[in-house]
């Protein structure tokens, strides 16, 4: 209605001009929003890089903190974050993907299924500190893992589960129905069809979602706060049951808990920079993986 009216008016002298004016305003608002988002991101990156990059050195990356964390590096924190993310990955990725396959491919699409889905979506919105407390109750106390890499990794895994399941489900949903029907019509069992047709098409999307979820988890502080992250450890964790240092927690300490906050500010920025680079690398690997997989499928 509106469009036809405007089009009709377009033939009259003033009509066309008014349409352009409205369009300009709309475009302007959209463009400003985009620029604003981009600018904020850029400012964060610039600020942290500017203040943090200077601290980065080989010894900063490979040495443990010294002299009450006023000197030395963050090596144990890097290693701790690596391990804890690894445990979260091994826990959440298979579990999440398999649950998503079941939900999307096998489960009856009824009321119960919808309820499970809604719960999962809501779980993604649960504050991470709540996951932290839950991790303490379940892994640290009930299962007796003590505050450890394992307990913290599993807690982070739990945190990423809703994201993993949702991302995996979206990827599965994006697989065309015609592949499934084509496979089944040739006499494939449902599992054969899923394995040979659905998963190969869905894996790039799944991986991207999963890695993005994990990179989010790698930067979380609250869930590991009570479940295994240590204030200061001069040595590296030597088993899944050791406590560990982690980048986000180390940053939190340097920024708020240290007795000489302004003195260690550069170290805090350096830590933030390393964390940022780590997350960036994870996200980049997600993009590259997806790209490579798509190319492979196109060629196949």
């Amino acid at each position: 209605m509106r469009v036809t009216e405007i089009l009709k008016q377009g033939k009259i002298i003033s009509g066309k001009r008014r349409r352009d004016w409205r369009q300009e305003v709309a475009f302007f608002c959209l463009r400003i929003s985009m620029l604003l988002v981009f600018l904020i991101l850029l400012m964060i990156l610039f600020d942290i890089t500017q203040k943090g990059f200077g601290v980065i050195s080989w010894s900063f990356l490979t040495e443990a903190p010294r002299s009450g964390m006023k000197e030395g590096g963050i090596y144990p924190a890097i290693v701790g974050t690596f391990y804890v993310t690894l445990i979260a990955t091994f826990f959440a990725v298979p579990l999440g993907i398999m649950a998503a396959i079941y939900l999307n491919e096998y489960a009856l699409q009824g009321r119960l299924n919808r309820l499970i889905r809604i719960s999962l979506r809501n779980m993604a919105g649960v504050p991470s500190i709540v996951f932290g407390l839950f991790g303490v109750a379940l892994f640290v106390q009930l299962m007796g893992f003590k505050p450890s890499l394992l307990a913290a990794g599993l807690t982070l895994g739990l945190l990423t589960l809703p994201v993993t399941v949702t991302a995996a489900e979206e990827a599965l949903k994006a697989v065309p129905k015609s592949y499934r029907e084509g496979g089944l019509a040739l006499g494939a069992t449902q599992w054969q069809m899923i394995k040979t047709l659905v998963l190969p098409s869905a894996i790039p999307g799944m991986l991207t979602g999963v890695i993005l979820g994990l990179s989010r988890a790698a930067g979380e502080t609250a869930p590991i706060l009570f479940t295994g992250a240590a204030f200061f450890l001069p040595y590296l964790p030597n088993s899944p049951f050791s406590q560990f240092m982690a980048l986000p927690y180390h940053l939190f300490i340097l920024a708020t808990q240290h007795h000489d906050i302004s003195g260690v500010r550069p170290l805090a920025y350096g830590t933030a920079f390393v964390l940022l680079v780590l997350v960036f690398l994870l996200n980049l690997s997600a993009v590259l993986l997806r790209y490579r997989y798509r190319k492979k499928i196109k060629q196949a």
């Binding site: 009856l108 699409q109 065309p176 015609s178 592949y179 029907e181 084509g182 496979g183 089944l184 019509a185 040739l186 006499g187 494939a188 069992t189 054969q192 040979t196 047709l197 190969p200 098409s201 499928i297 196109k298 060629q299 196949a300």
Partner: protein, 292 residues
């Protein structure tokens, strides 16, 4: 003379009469002797008894009775929503995939009622292939598309697969066009080639019956003609059931034609007869283009 007009079939027809097969009660019944002579050499491949199909509460097929003979092309025609595609998909139980569907009656394929609980649906679908309306090659190479069926049915040896792929592509009249590019994606082919690839994919599992759901509706006239020629060739070895919106196509390629309307099988008989002397006025009206 057998009546397949389900809506007319008030009283049960004796079994021995039913088996005689599809033709129409044209009152005159001129071709009776002719038909029964031919029917003796052809066995019944698919037999449908009092079959009804429901999507939830909605009845999509009403009390269908029909027989389909081996190595013939049977065309299912009728206006959109008349149930012909639903009927086609009941023959390899693809409708099972839609939640909330329900069937009554029997569909007997090669002597076995496929709606019995003991039936292995996977095995049924191997025997009863389906070609879809939209060509749907898998995002795999041409070779892998054709080898897909044999592979999931346990064939692993490369020589065996190579042979099946070549044979199937030759049968589907695609071999010469793709033999030098078997490793390329099936999606790189043109629409008509893709549809022939899908037919080759079905042939590779050595089915007995091939169902086709408007296989040419997404194709241009040249590609359509190639598929039609192919269907004629394949009918020597396979029982083919094809849904089509195109009446000329039904007339060109089929031996038997079944006319569906509002979920009923109005009439089924030899194509020549249906198109020249339909037994039901509704068939006549549809064929002459008065509705539909």
């Amino acid at each position: 003379m057998t009546i397949i007009n389900s809506h007319l079939e008030q009283k049960p027809v004796p079994e021995e009469e039913k088996v005689k097969l599809i033709s129409i009660d044209t009152a005159k019944g001129k071709q009776k002797d002719d038909l029964s002579a031919k029917n003796k050499t052809k066995e019944v491949k698919v037999k449908v008894n009092n079959f009804s199909f429901y999507y939830g509460d909605k009845q999509a097929l009403q009390n269908i009775n029909m027989e389909i003979t081996t190595n013939e092309v049977t065309a299912l025609i009728g206006p959109s929503g008349c149930g012909k595609t639903t009927f086609l998909r009941t023959i390899n139980r693809m409708n099972d995939l839609i939640p909330g569907t329900r069937v009554e009656g029997e569909v007997i394929v090669s002597g076995q009622n496929i709606y019995q609980p003991a039936v292995d649906v996977v095995e049924l679908r191997r025997k009863v292939g389906l070609v879809f309306q939209q060509p749907n090659p898998f995002p795999k190479s041409i070779y892998e598309n054709v080898a897909y069926g044999p592979k999931i049915h346990g064939k692993r040896k490369k020589e065996v697969l190579d042979e099946i792929v070549e044979e199937s592509l030759k049968q589907a009249a695609l071999w010469d066009e793709v033999k030098d590019r078997l490793k390329e994606s099936g999606l790189s082919l043109s629409g008509g080639q893709q549809q022939r690839l899908c037919i080759a994919r079905v042939l590779a599992v050595k089915p007995e019956i091939i169902l086709m759901d408007e296989p040419t509706s997404a194709l241009d006239p040249v590609a359509t003609q190639r598929i039609e020629d192919l269907i004629r060739e394949l009918s020597a070895d396979y029982t083919i059931i094809i849904v089509t919106h195109n009446m000329q196509q039904a007339a060109r390629i089929s031996d038997f034609t079944a006319f569906f309307l509002l979920g009923e099988l109005v009439e089924c008989g030899r194509t020549a007869q249906i198109f020249t002397r339909p037994g039901d006025t509704r068939t006549e009206e549809y064929i002459t283009g008065r509705f539909g």
